[in-house]
Point group: none
DNA sequence: TGACTGCCCATAAAATCCCATGATAGTCCA
DNA sequence: TGGACTATCATGGGATTTTATGGGCAGTCA
């Protein structure tokens, strides 16, 4: 299964164009629509992107989820109203709509971060800050986890 | 590209004409009737719009629902009675009937918000207020788009 | 008459296409 | 094994096409 993996940093030119990493384009190459769907992340100052097909899957499963009217409205507005279909040019570049680029603070460079079914687009420095935070979080969680494991092992008479 | 996506803001000229975004027109281009059906939103101070074909589907599915007479009346009156067929001019513009424009408070500019099978037309500032509310709601419930997408993938057995 | 319709054309800005270049990596063959 | 040839890629710039937006003008309905 082709998934979006690893991180690439590409330049944004004067016209606002950025190359989508070739590896990412390969993942999308079988798709009917040659381009991506981009929308604002709800958690981070970054953009989320996926294939149009995946977006349709999402929309179909939204109907299947049996949501309350209010929730349905919520998704419909945040996702579909807020997302933009962005086509590739002949060289596999996209132009980020101005309001999306501004939201993620992207001007000179853009970092593409693979997240399996989707990928994110970050301003490179914001991404590195974010990664540090995540690493710290993971570290602290690891510590407490090993403590818990050690404790559990003691209670059960140690590791065998 | 079969669905209405993203948000566009266009100007209303002195004659009351607004360009329907080119991407939206492309979605409608295969249709027999070159124009849209517009009616008042039941929830918001905004207008709903879709293709004439989709309106017919809607009416068909209403009949299939086997509604009570009262409910049927309700829909007939609010949606079908209140809806207007609005044709494109040569440049892909429409003129919003005066009572509909007034209902949504549209005068200078109109925001077109894609909602897959339909789209909404808002007064831009009213829209941005509405979006803020929705966004806060989503955040407070810890709704994450990637979670939804992951959930959607699960339901459909993942990408293959 | 006069507002409104539907058509036509004009234009500036923006989006898109097309071709060029340098860099990198990968391959093939002696 | 090493060097030349090739393919791919990110990047840049110019040319072309779309698009949104504006205005004009003739028919029409009230």
């Amino acid at each position: 299964m082709a998934v979006f993996l690893s991180t690439y940093v590409n330049k944004v030119d004067k016209k606002g164009r950025v190359s989508v990493p070739a590896d990412f384009r390969k993942v999308l190459s079988g798709q009917s629509y040659q381009g991506v769907v981009v929308f604002k992340s709800l958690q981070y100052p970054a953009l989320e992107a996926c294939s149009a097909d995946h977006m349709e899957q999402l929309s179909d499963s939204l109907e299947a989820l049996d949501l309350s009217n209010e929730d349905y409205e919520l998704y419909e507005t945040t996702i579909f109203g807020g997302s933009v279909q962005v086509p590739f040019d002949g060289e596999g570049r996209i132009v980020l709509p101005e309001h999306l680029a501004r939201f993620a603070n992207i001007s000179e460079e853009a970092a593409f971060v693979g997240r399996r079914k989707t990928f994110q687009i970050w301003e490179p420095r914001a991404l590195s800050v974010h990664e540090d935070v995540m690493r710290d979080k993971a570290r602290s969680r690891d510590v407490s986890l090993s403590k818990i494991i050690a404790k559990a092992s003691q209670l059960r008479g140690g590791l065998s």
